[in-house]
Structure formats: C-alpha cells, structure tokens
C-alpha cells in the first residue's frame, strides 16, 4: 500500500522541480545558520544563490563523519537548542558518538516517512508491530515506534535483548510484524528453536530489517527460519534514522529512496566524482526538509548502485540496491578488496552452514591472514575427520575462486560465535599497521 500517494507517485518532472526548490532552500538555511557550512562554501567561493539547477549540486562541498566529530556535539545544528525536541546519537565504535537533533517538525516528518516504509512493507493499522530495534540513543527503536503509531498500528516497544521473552511476547500478543536488525532476527530464530517454538505457529507475516548490511542469502535464511517476508529498510541517524529508503512488498527489488526529502547521489569514493545511475559507488545524501540537523552531501560510506527504472508498485522514487558493504568495512587482504558481505554470500550458498560467522584479520610477518570461523552444526558434522576437512577446504576454495583471496577456515563449536542483540560484530582486525 502507498501511504502518501501524492508524493510517493509524483511524476518525475514535478519531483525534480520540488527537489530543486527544497535544495535551494536548505542551502540558504545552512549558509545562514551553520558556521561550518558558511566557511566551507566561502572557501569554495560558492554562494547559496548559485544553485540554479540540480546540476549545481555537484559543486557543493561534501560533509563527512569527521566533520560531525569535529563539531561535536551541537556544532552543526541549524536551529537554536530551544527548538530541538529530541537528540539521538550514533553508536560510536571509535571515539565520540555523532550527535543528531530534531525539531518538532523533523519528528513529524520522520514519523511520516516511517509510516510510508511500514506501508510499503504491507503493514496496516490492523497490525501488531513487534519492535525489537534498540530504544535509546540509537534511532532505530524510536524511529520505528513513531512510524508505527503514525500508521495507527499497535506497537510493542520491545527494544533489543532478552530473546526468550521476545519469543513469548510474540506468541502471546500475536505480533504480526517484526522490526529489528537482520542479525538479531536470526538470533531470535535460534532462541525460538531452543524453546521448541515453530515460527509457523506464530502470526508474523512480515519483517522490516535494517541498520546493518545483509545479503540476499541472509534474506532467504530469515524468510525460511522465521516464516515471513523480509523487507529491507535503510536509514542512518545522520540523515534521519530508519526511513530514508525501503523496499516495496510488490517488487522486493531495491529500496525506494524518499526523494522528496533526501537527494541521493552515488560517487566514486576515491575520486569523489559523481557517478551515473547504474554505476556502483558510495551513497551520498542531502537532506531537503530537515530543520535541526540538515546535511549537505553527506558521505555515508555505504556502497550501492541506483536504479531509475519505474517500479511495478507505482512509486516514482529511484531505487537503491541493498547496501552490501561499507567502504570502511572493506578489508584489504594482501591487496585484495574484500567485503564481509561477499564472504557471507558464499557461506550462505553452502548447504547446512549457519549464518553466524566471524572474520579475523591478522598479519604474520608482512602477510595478511584472514581466518573465517564457521560453526559446525549437526547438518555438516561427521564422525570422520576427512569430511570436516573437505568442508573447510570447500569453503576456502569457493572464497578463493570468487574473491581471489586465500583464507583459513576454522571450524568452531556451535553457538561460540557471539550472537547479535543489535548490530552484529563480524570482523576482528588484529593487524597493527
């Protein structure tokens, strides 16, 4: 179902005009209210009035995660703090988190966008939405929550963790839609299995999963194990949180970017040149309507490709392919670029392998080593050593064939790889460079 028919199916020409008008407006606002943007624009000799067509977007400076850190915590806010009604922060794995703010109107728009996303996944006000995204500084929990309320559905604010209780509530409350990270969905599947609960007996029909890169293989695994349709939801706190782009139930092929609120571009991460549709590169977003924390050409580090083909669902928004890697997730192993998601896809193609794995990168002398820990379950276990060794060799060979990199597969006991309660930790890099 399309929540906001007027905007979501706006003819391209009208959409482009709206985007330009909104871009001109946001550029003026940031220039007037955010010293960081005034300085970077001035340095480039760029004046807000210079935006005459969408082509001028290319001339605007980028904003990076480092810029957010340098202006910690409120330096990039475009409104006085008294207009800010909510503050979130991204999980900073290194150093300080990045802080984002919302005005009352920003929260309104965010709720609308999440209502759109939930509708695209087939949710209606009759649904019971089991929200296992973390509530707190992370935007996932509250973002989904407000969208679900806006839609008029009944939302269960579960947050992450306490998996046994999650399964009990799902069963007792009759949850119909699950929202969480894909890795946590798999973790829930395992818990249910331990509890002897079959998802076929639950009422779940759809799940919206996001906040971490995942592969088609994981989608199939989730759909099979949880007996539901798995829909990809994209967002990042810097841009607004969840609700930047979503797959539609009709096509399940690519995520529609809510272009009336965000301009999406793809750039070559090395040269920073703008790429055309169909070329793979780093996603860059410009917020068009956000008041408290507008960003111009924010570099996400997420790798994707845009598809402008019209979609069977009727939405006119461009689609981005599922994000299957981040340019900063990329591992360089002896000069070969490797994304954890590529290894995940290979593992998922091997019958019986669990979707839990850990990559350990190290350096022996001058050589990088990549160890892949894979759990041995009953489906792949054998009483004969040679069969297990064949399995390990097969994984090593598949990875070598597809990615051109040698790895060492280490078979480990079941459930020894840490399970996700939010974002999964898939890589440990022990190299000291």
């Amino acid at each position: 179902m399309i929540w906001d028919k007027e905007f979501e199916t706006l003819p391209r020409e009208a959409l482009e005009a709206l985007k330009l008008k909104r871009l001109q407006n946001v550029v003026k606002r940031v220039y007037a209210n955010v010293p960081f943007y005034k300085n970077t624009f001035d340095e480039k000799g760029f004046k807000p009035e210079d935006v005459e067509s969408m082509d001028d977007l290319k001339r605007l400076p980028f904003t990076t995660k480092q810029d957010l850190r340098d202006n910690y915590p409120y330096g990039l806010f475009a409104v006085p703090l008294e207009s800010v009604v909510r503050i979130h922060a991204s999980s900073g794995t290194t150093g300080k988190p990045t802080v984002v703010g919302y005005t009352k109107k920003d929260i309104e728009i965010w709720a609308e966008l999440m209502a759109r996303a939930l509708s695209a996944a087939g949710a209606t006000k009759g649904d019971i939405i089991h929200n296992s995204y973390g509530y707190g500084l992370f935007t996932g929990g509250l973002g989904l929550h407000y969208g679900a309320e806006r839609l008029g559905a009944s939302v269960i604010p579960m947050s992450g963790g306490n998996s046994k209780k999650q399964i009990m509530i799902m069963e007792d409350f009759g949850s119909t839609i699950l929202t969480c990270t894909p890795s946590y969905a798999l973790s829930l599947a395992e818990t249910a299995e331990e509890m002897g609960i079959d998802f076929k007996n639950l009422k779940l029909k759809t799940g919206l999963f996001g906040a971490e890169p995942w592969s088609e293989g994981i989608r199939e695994e989730i759909e099979r194990k949880l007996n539901l349709h798995a829909i990809d939801l994209y967002g990042l706190s810097e841009i607004i949180g969840p609700g930047v782009a979503v797959e539609c139930m009709e096509a399940k092929r690519g995520l529609h970017v809510f272009e009336d609120h965000f301009i999406v571009e793809v750039i070559n991460p090395e040269t920073c040149e703008t790429l055309t549709h169909g070329q793979r590169g780093e996603l860059v977003f410009t917020t068009l309507t956000k008041e408290a924390f507008p960003l111009i050409r924010y570099r996400t580090r997420d790798i994707s490709v845009l598809n402008p083909e019209p979609c069977i669902c009727g939405r006119t928004f461009v689609r981005m392919e599922r994000v299957n890697g981040r340019s900063d997730d990329m591992l360089i192993i002896r000069g070969v670029n490797v994304f954890p998601s590529q290894i995940e896809s290979i593992l998922m193609n091997i019958e019986g392998i669990e979707p839990h794995y850990l990559l350990i990168v190290d350096r022996k002398g001058t050589m990088d080593t990549l160890e892949i820990q894979v759990e041995v379950n009953e489906r792949v276990f054998s009483d004969e050593i040679k069969n297990l060794q064949i399995l390990g060799k097969r994984i090593e060979k598949d990875i070598k064939d597809f990615l051109g990199v040698s790895t060492i597969v280490k078979l480990v006991e079941p459930k020894t790889i840490q399970r996700s309660e939010g974002k999964a930790q898939r890589v440990i890099d022990k190299r000291k460079i």
Partner: protein
C-alpha cells in the same frame, strides 16, 4: 549387529574434553570405549556408552554438536596376528576401514575392535561368513 557410536565435535582448546566427560558423568552415563581423532584445530570424540540416546540428549542440551553413527564391534583373540587375520579377510573383499579403535575385554582373553567401515552391511556379511565374532550392542553396552 551394529553398535551405536556417538561422536562429538570439539574445538582444540583446554577444558572441552573435560566438559564432555563431566556432562556424561553427571547424567550417570558410563563410557565403554572412546577414541579421539584430532587435527590442529578441532577433534572428533567418538564414544560407545551404555545409553546413547540419553548421552546425545544431555550433550545437545549442553551445546555440543553430536552425531550418531553405526559401527561394528569385532571380537579378536588377544594374541599375535589376531587383528591381521581379520583385516586380511576384509581387504580381500575390498572393504575399507575408515577408522578403528580397540580395548581389551574385562576377562582379558579377547580384544574388542570398534570398526567404522565404508560399507557396514557388506562388512558384517563378510565377517560372519568367515566366522569372525561380532558383538551385539546389548552385550557391549553392559560390560
């Protein structure tokens, strides 16, 4: 004629074998025979116990990956050349031994060889035809 053997996947790290034996001990399960095959990274523990079903249950509950395989227990006279004559028969019939391990019967007269064959049914047929004694499960579990 076939014996249930359970196998357990173990990572090569200290305490894992101790954990298996503790779990079995606490469940009152007696180990009749065992063998541990190992590589640099992992090992496979193979066990003949007095209650395979229960052993598998308690090990699974404790998070181990467990498998069940059918093996054959062959009785061999405890004297020089005892094993060689049996293996000769098997090799004459192109039967491969995947692995085997032995222990000595309580009476001390015979050795028991636990064998995993590539073709178990054929092996049993050949052994019986050559009058080689095969132990029944009940007897082995109850030693």
């Amino acid at each position: 004629m076939k014996i249930d053997q359970i196998s357990v996947f173990l990572e090569n790290k200290s305490g894992r074998l101790a954990k298996v034996t503790r779990v079995l001990g606490e469940a009152g399960i007696n180990i009749r025979a065992l063998s541990l095959a190992d590589t640099t990274d992992f090992g496979i523990l193979r066990l003949i116990v007095n209650d395979s079903q229960k052993a598998m249950e308690v090990l699974k509950e404790n998070g181990f990956t467990v498998g069940k395989t059918e093996v054959v227990a062959v009785e061999v006279e405890d004297k020089p050349g005892g094993l060689a004559s049996i293996l000769g028969v098997l090799s004459d019939h192109d039967i491969n031994v995947e692995y085997m391990y032995a222990f000595v019967e309580q009476s001390g007269e015979n050795a028991i060889i636990i064998c995993r064959f590539d073709e178990t049914d054929k092996a049993i047929y050949v052994l019986q035809k050559n009058n080689i004694a095969i132990l029944k499960g009940e007897k082995l579990y109850q030693f």
